[in-house]
Symmetry: C2
Subunit: 276 residues, 2 copies
C-alpha cells in the first residue's frame, strides 16, 4: 500500500490503458509536493517527456535561434513568455518552478547546484524552453520488439561529444552530442525508419557505422552515460542528443541557466508520439 | 523534328510540368506500335513503372500467395482476371500484350525467347501480375540530392542472390535477390528513411553493412547487373529486388510464363509515389 499512498490521484488525461494514478498530471503534482524525486524514465508510459532549459530573456532570442538552426539535437516543443512559469501547450496546470523532479542550476555557464524546486530562483525575465527527448522513441522501439541495449541492461544510454559543430547563434555554439544504440543490421534499419517518425524525439539518426568518422575515438568510453555493450555483428547507430544545448549554454555563459537534472524530465500531457 | 515525329500525342494524364507527349499513355502507344522499344529507365518521369509476370491460371493462385508472403521483393500493384489483357487500375487503355517495350518468354522455367509483342502467345488462361519496381525510389533519391551510384555511372544496379530464402507458396520458392546501392553514412540513413515511404518500390532495405552476413561472398561480382563502384567510407545498403519472382518462376516451371525484359518496364498512369 505504501507505493499506492505515494500517488496522488487527480483528474487528468488517461491514455489507453494507463492507470489514472500514473497520469502525467498526477506525477507532476507529486514532483511539486516533493513526494517523488526519481528519474522519469519508464514513468507515465505513453506520455511525451521533455528536456528543459530556462534562460534569461536577454539570451532567449539567441537560444531560440540556436534551437531553430539545430532541430535534430534541439527539437522545440514549447517556449514560454518571460516570467511565465506555465506551459499550457504541454500540460494543464504545469508550474515549471516545481513540476520537474530535479533541476540543475548554472551560473555563468558553470553547474553550481542541483535542487528539487526553483521557486526561490525565479525571475520575471526567465524564459522556459521545452525540448524533445529520446524516451518516446526508445519506447516505440521496445514496443516494436527491437531491444534497446541500454534499456535492456538498465543503464544510461552512452553519449559522446562529436567533431561535428552545431550551427552557432549569438553566444550559443559547440559540438553536437550524440547518443548511441547498437543493433543487428535488420533492426538498425527498423530503428532508423521508426525514429524518423519521431522528429520531436531527435528524428532519424545522424550517423551509422564507424564512430571515428564523427570524431569518436573510443566508443567504449562515452563522455556521458554508461559504457555500451556492443554484440558481435551489431552496427552502431548515432542520434543527435538533448545534451547538446547544455554544452551550448556552458559556452554562452548566461548569468543564470536552469536545466532538468539528466534523466529527470518534464512529463507532459501530450501523447508520446505527438507531432506539433 | 525526328524525335518529335516519333512521339504520338494522345490525350492522357499530364503530371506536374510533364510534356503531354511524354505521358505514360503516349509512350505505351509507341511501344504498342513498335515505334519505340527502348529501356524505360528515365522515361515518363513522375509515373510509376512496374515489373511484369504473366502466368497460366493454374499457377496464378500460388504465385499470388507467393507475392503476398514476400511483399518486399514482390509488392503487388495489380492482378488481372484470366485472359483479360487490360489493367484498368494501372492505366487507361493498357493492352498488356503489346504495351511493354520488350518481353521475355519462359517455357517450363527456361527463358526461350525475347519479343516485342506477345499477342500471338496470348491465351484465355493467362493472368497478369504487375509488381512494383525501384525506379520510383531511385528518382526520389536523386531529387533529394542523394546520388545513386549506378544512376550516376549510367550502369545497371548490381543485384545478388542471397542466402536468405523467400517464403514458399506451392511450387514457387527460391532465394531472395537484392539490389545494392552504396552511400556515405548520412546519405544511407536518408536513403533508408526515404525508401521506407515507397512500399510499392520495395520499401526500406533489408540489410546494411557486411555483404557476407546475407551470403554475398564478393560484392564486386554481382549475379545480375553491373559491378558496383564503392567509394571509401561508403556503406552498402541492400534492397529486396524484383528479380526474386523471376527466380521463383524458374523454379516453379509453369508451361508458359512471360515477364518484362529487365529494364523494359510497364509504364503506368499512376504517380511515381502512389500508394494503393
Amino acid at each position: 500500500m505504501e507505493g499506492t499512498d505515494r500517488l496522488v490521484t487527480v483528474p487528468g488525461i488517461t491514455p489507453n490503458g494507463a492507470n489514472a494514478a500514473e497520469t502525467a498530471q498526477a506525477l507532476r503534482l507529486q514532483f511539486r509536493l516533493g513526494s517523488l524525486t526519481e528519474q522519469t524514465s519508464g514513468l507515465a508510459p505513453g506520455f511525451l517527456q521533455a528536456n528543459l532549459a530556462i534562460l534569461p530573456s536577454n539570451a532567449a532570442a539567441d537560444f531560440l535561434l540556436y534551437c531553430t538552426r539545430n532541430p535534430k539535437p534541439c527539437p522545440l516543443l514549447s517556449v514560454s513568455n518571460p516570467g511565465d512559469p506555465t506551459l499550457p501547450r504541454l500540460g494543464q496546470d504545469i508550474d515549471i518552478r516545481s513540476d520537474v523532479p530535479s533541476y540543475r542550476v548554472f551560473r555563468n555557464g558553470r553547474h553550481v547546484d542541483t535542487v528539487g524546486d526553483i521557486s526561490a530562483l525565479w525571475r520575471d525575465d526567465l524564459v522556459t524552453f521545452a525540448i524533445g527527448c529520446s524516451f518516446s522513441f526508445d519506447d516505440a522501439l521496445q514496443r516494436s520488439g527491437i531491444p534497446v541495449p541500454n534499456v535492456s541492461a538498465g543503464t544510461n544510454v552512452p553519449m559522446y561529444v562529436t567533431a561535428i559543430e552545431t550551427e552557432p547563434a549569438g553566444p550559443f555554439s559547440g559540438p553536437l552530442v550524440v547518443s548511441m544504440r547498437s543493433f543487428k543490421p535488420a533492426d538498425a534499419i527498423r530503428a532508423i525508419t521508426l525514429s524518423d517518425r519521431y522528429p520531436l524525439a531527435h528524428g532519424a539518426p545522424i550517423h551509422i557505422g564507424d564512430p571515428a568518422e564523427i570524431g569518436i575515438r573510443d566508443v567504449t568510453a562515452p563522455d556521458f552515460g554508461d559504457p555500451p555493450t556492443i554484440a558481435p555483428g551489431e552496427i552502431c547507430v548515432f542520434w543527435a542528443c538533448g545534451v547538446t544545448p547544455q554544452l551550448a549554454i556552458g559556452r554562452a555563459q548566461p548569468d543564470i541557466a536552469i536545466t532538468h537534472d539528466p534523466g529527470h524530465m518534464l512529463i507532459t500531457d501530450l501523447p508520446a508520439d505527438a507531432t506539433l
